[in-house]
Subunit: 262 residues, 2 copies
């Protein structure tokens, strides 16, 4: 019997999360995982289980999600990419595909992840970018936000910034970079770390936004962090402003991202 | 009788043209003008006729359309802006409002208009920016496009680049700037001129794209221009990539735009 060796494709994915319940399969709605597995089924006739480096929440976007897809049939990476993209809906696409090393596990092998959050900081609501930003009218104090970010960077118990239903065993995480900047009406926040708790980035952003509006000081952020209680921290920033920009597998690339401009 | 003097608001508008038949009122669908006039009616109870500086086509976006709205009632510009935005759909907003000088006519007083066209120049289709770009897979030669653009800049009979149903009396227009540039997978084209014929920018872009793909040379573009026949020019670029960025009323601001970076 000429059984092919089991192989898997490593896919880089871009998606507009607006219409999805998030990355992961859910009973209550359509997930990005479901549409990718359906496209894979249409291409190779097998029900394949995809695993991603990050379980993005409902409404969160990705420009550089990475997923492992066990692969059957004859198509190589380039042909598989074209065939999958022809079957995926317009709000999801495969940007790159390559053979994965045997036994590769995206979540375990990830050196880190880069998230970017966008705020439309202007009196008038956004129109052309409305699906990608959080609208905050009050002028944000970027310097203050960066002073508060310094308090949060490092290894901490991030219990104050995790969702109530976060499944992670440990609330300890290392946050290697958290930085805000302004480009006209647009305020961006980048978060870089080996891994994040559930809704951690959006909770950090919600907190920095309160500092930016002058309703919270950096020392108060230190108290919230030390308090380790989600209920004392500011509200979660909405999902639509968040985008998983990149997953790093090479330590060198991750180290460069610590100092890159965004 | 205490009749207020007739006054008008000068509005700067942003809109996502995806869902509209264009700026102007049409019998076959919803126009941006119609939703703006409806919002004005809801705010001040009068049926008011809006006039814009540019009649953008179906599917074309704007970040800086300018429109004149005769105004009734007591609200000043800032209150009118807030009241209109509260009633406009999420894909249209008023970015700025000010009293217009008496007798101001947006189309006549415009010194010039700046349009920007975006091309997603990559093998894989766009996702997050899909409503704002034209997807072209073949790598575009920006240098060649700019050599062809030089042929088109200046005062010419642009009959080869006007829509068959263009209502303008004269096909003569002055094109002050036409320039292409690349930012990674994104190719942009800016067009600046006092006024444009119907679909002129999209026809210029369609032509430059053919040059970028190596299917047309700059001398051939000169022949097409001189031929003055739309039927011999390349196809029209799709509407979704086009955005009316700004309308200039001050000669100084217009002159600066001739050399500004985009």
């Amino acid at each position: 019997v000429n059984q092919p060796e089991p192989r898997a494709l490593l896919l880089t994915l871009e998606y507009d999360g607006s219409a999805y319940v998030g990355w992961q399969l859910q009973k209550n709605g359509l997930s990005v995982q479901a549409v990718l597995e359906e496209a894979a089924f249409q291409v190779c006739g097998a029900r394949l289980r995809v695993r991603a480096a990050s379980r993005t929440d409902s409404g969160v976007h990705a420009r550089g999600q990475v997923a492992l897809l066990p692969w059957r049939g004859r198509l190589g990476p380039a042909q598989a990419l074209a065939a999958l993209n022809a079957r995926l809906p317009e709000d999801v696409c495969v940007r790159a595909a390559a053979w994965a090393e045997p036994g590769f596990q995206p979540r375990r092998r990830a050196q880190g992840k880069l998230y970017r959050y966008l705020i439309h900081n202007a009196q008038v609501r956004p129109v052309l970018e409305r699906r990608m930003v959080w609208h905050l009218r009050h002028p944000l104090d970027i310097e203050g936000m960066n002073r508060a970010a310094e308090v949060l960077v490092g290894q901490h118990d991030f219990s104050a910034f995790r969702a109530a239903n976060c499944p992670a065993r440990s609330p300890i995480r290392r946050l290697d970079r958290l930085e805000a900047g302004r480009d006209g009406e647009r305020v961006w926040i980048v978060a870089l770390g080996p891994s994040f708790l559930k809704q951690m980035v959006r909770n950090l952003v919600g907190c920095l936004a309160e500092v930016g509006r002058g309703r919270l000081t950096p020392p108060e952020v230190a108290v919230i962090l030390a308090g380790r209680a989600r209920t004392r921290a500011p509200r979660t920033a909405p999902a639509q402003g968040l985008c998983l920009e990149r997953v790093f597998f090479e330590p060198e690339a991750y180290r460069r991202a610590l100092h890159a401009a965004y």
